[in-house]
Symmetry: C2
Subunit: 430 residues, 2 copies
């Protein structure tokens, strides 16, 4: 008879309640699978009396989550408070400092402080695990850090924000514009009241920074992620992309070679022939490409009570089984300071959507800006003008660099005929 | 400085050569990721002089693979000989008996002797790992046994035989019949000279039996897998399935509930709306469904040098990291003797294809056999007769049981107008 694994949980939102449900529902199988009983000994949250659909009366209560780190009868702390700083960060350092394992779903915390936390965890020989931080129910960190660890990986990318994928799917299905669909999503609880982290790509960037580090053994660097969101995308873009054989997805993409690492989050056009184009609604999918496995694809629910709690408890199971690795699967001291490749060197084809007043010379003005930068056009579509005399001009370029594209846009930005800023998205070859 | 992990490799076909390539190519990163150097100390195969594209001159050579188990300077044996019995089995028991870890890609061995081997591995506190045995490059055993271990899983299914999936894809793309496409596949090296294990579903059944045990904590039972292959499928079936909104796939499906476990391998019709319908060519995909994660999908290459070797080395990495679990993730003594549900109780809709001479009363004969068993028809298609007066009649039934379906087929088998045995496939609701 081994001693139980004694757990403290900080944060009792939906995911916290989900973790408690799993540990209560599957007590016997968890013990059978790990050889240890899972015992929740204490919980902490901001509101003690809220009904969470789970019985927490048997657990010690702490108003201050930091107190959990002080308890000698806790072996492992689960942090589900969120936020890169504040109490979550304090708790993480305090827990690891006191020799407790620390399991979290907090992508912002890991993206910003993962390296320092990993150093502390390794120093104290305890676990720091964050499977739930990336792509919820999909065990993607385990797949990449363990399952594919025999490979040199060179590209990892995916749809990692369910809110954006839901909005883009809805825009396509209903033909409505971004703001409209976002408002609906907020009403239905699929998007936060403040949607900034989701729709501006920050949440995806947190996740991509974590995946990059796990995939390539590079020091996590959130600031090096080029990040754009989906606010400027219109129904008109989704329609035209489809007409051209593409779908618009917010992807995080991290490419690695001997030259360095390029991490980018932005909406892009992906061919309807590629699997990720068919991942709709709030689903997430991650693709990992390596020198021996070629391409593997992982798909599932990226958020929500059940999937996220499943990932949290999987981390706890690993620790109960005695699986202890460096948090990024390579000792923190050996994570490399890779060169971060600037976006300006990025090469590819681009989708451009100009919204202009239909006056003589407008196409000439656009075309000459492109030709001055040596950017040639593969496809051009123009839609008949509306009652105000405005037209959409859609162009797909041949291969060029981001540097030239930016210069083109600066020049076109000077044109008087421009009604709104030009929408530009890369066409990703996946 | 830790001691290296000393490896012996038995079997130097393409996968064996791939394992050596990974260990040679990624020596530094493997050491960084595990804290241990990987040192191949000895190899064994039937032909010493064959050019395998890798330098094996630095490794001790044994003509007899069993000698590897005798060597004191080997910590871990990789078995890539294949076959459920004979030398592979002897080596497995000898290796575990002598306290060495044992890593294998051999699905037949694990499907037949996995339980006894697991007992021995646990007794001697060594690792027995077989990630490469199921779905090659996809880390599906790790995903299910670790990543999803917080769930009660209730259904696991997938395309696990690349040869069959390649043949079915080719049949659809070229409109040619099974025998034709098989012959081509054999010529191209995509199918074995003796294709029995692949096309008759046995290989998939081996893999499904392994996955079931890992997913549900049940004692592995290959004999309980209902197994059918793809030989009887014609181009005509693929066409008609498509017309009805389906694609034909050879799936292994294992469903588990408090009633028991039902494992089946057979060609079936899957909706074009479900992700697995779009997994083509030699790709594999596995879907796992559980109470907290809902549905997760894993896709990648299921065979070949690189993907299979990647999975083998991932197992070696786990052991080098000190990740030691029961081989089926639950101690062998606790694996349950579940009830195996008979196929006769299986419920669902069925696709039927009759090949009959176009004589009066033939539809009446078929229809009355169906109605006598209470099976009603949802859809019926009949194609104009050919020069010999033969017609295809395609029917899709409403929900019924396998028991009734079998009785219907027995009755229809008596009809004089039948030109060839009736093709019957379930329509799987995925």
């Amino acid at each position: 008879m081994t001693t139980p694994l004694r757990i403290g949980i900080a944060g009792l939102g939906t995911v916290g309640a989900g973790v408690i449900k799993i540990i209560q529902t599957h007590a016997d199988t968890l013990q059978q699978r790990t050889g240890q009983a899972f015992e929740i000994v204490a919980v902490s949250a901001s509101n003690r009396s809220r009904d969470r659909g789970v019985d927490i009366s048997g657990y010690a209560w702490f108003d201050n989550a930091l107190d959990l780190a002080e308890q000698d009868n806790i072996d492992l702390i689960v942090e589900l408070i969120g936020g890169s700083d504040g109490i979550a960060k304090e708790l993480a350092f305090a827990a690891l400092d006191s020799g407790k394992h620390f399991v979290t779903a907090n992508k912002a915390l890991i993206a910003h402080h993962g390296h320092a936390l990993a150093e502390l965890a390794e120093k104290n020989k305890v676990g720091l695990k964050f499977e739930a931080a990336v792509a919820g129910g999909i065990p993607i960190i385990k797949a990449i850090g363990e399952g594919l660890a025999a490979n040199g990986l060179f590209r990892v990318y995916g749809i990692m924000n369910g809110t954006c994928n839901y909005i883009l799917t809805q825009m396509e299905e209903t033909g409505r514009d971004f703001a409209d669909v976002l408002a609906d999503a907020q009403r239905l609880g699929y998007a936060e009241a403040d949607p900034t982290f989701d729709v501006d790509g920050i949440d995806t960037a947190h996740k991509l920074a974590i995946l990059s580090s796990v995939a390539y053994g590079t020091k996590i660097n959130f600031d090096a992620v080029h990040t754009e969101g989906i606010r400027s995308i219109g129904a008109v873009d989704i329609d035209h992309a489809k007409e051209l054989g593409y779908r618009i997805k917010l992807l995080g993409i991290a490419e690695y070679s001997s030259d360095g690492l390029r991490q980018r989050v932005r909406p892009c056009l992906v061919s309807l022939e590629t699997p990720i184009a068919h991942v709709g609604d709030a689903f997430n999918a991650v693709v990992a490409e390596g020198d021996f496995i070629d391409r593997t694809v992982y798909e599932g629910r990226g958020a929500g009570e059940g999937p996220t709690a499943s990932a949290v408890v999987a981390d706890v199971i690993d620790l109960a089984r005695g699986f202890l690795t460096s948090p990024f699967f390579v000792p923190a001291a050996h994570l490399s300071d890779t060169r971060h490749l600037p976006m300006s060197e990025n090469e590819g084809e681009y989708y451009l959507r100009f919204h202009v007043s239909d006056t003589p010379g407008v196409v000439a003005g656009i075309s000459s800006a492109l030709s001055e930068e040596g950017v040639s056009i593969d496809t051009m579509l123009q839609r008949g003008n509306d009652e105000e005399g405005a037209v959409y001009i859609i162009m797909v370029t041949h291969e060029t660099t981001e540097h030239h594209m930016r210069r083109v846009l600066d020049k076109i930005g000077q044109l008087n005929s421009l009604i709104e800023p030009t929408v530009v998205m890369p066409i990703e070859q996946l």
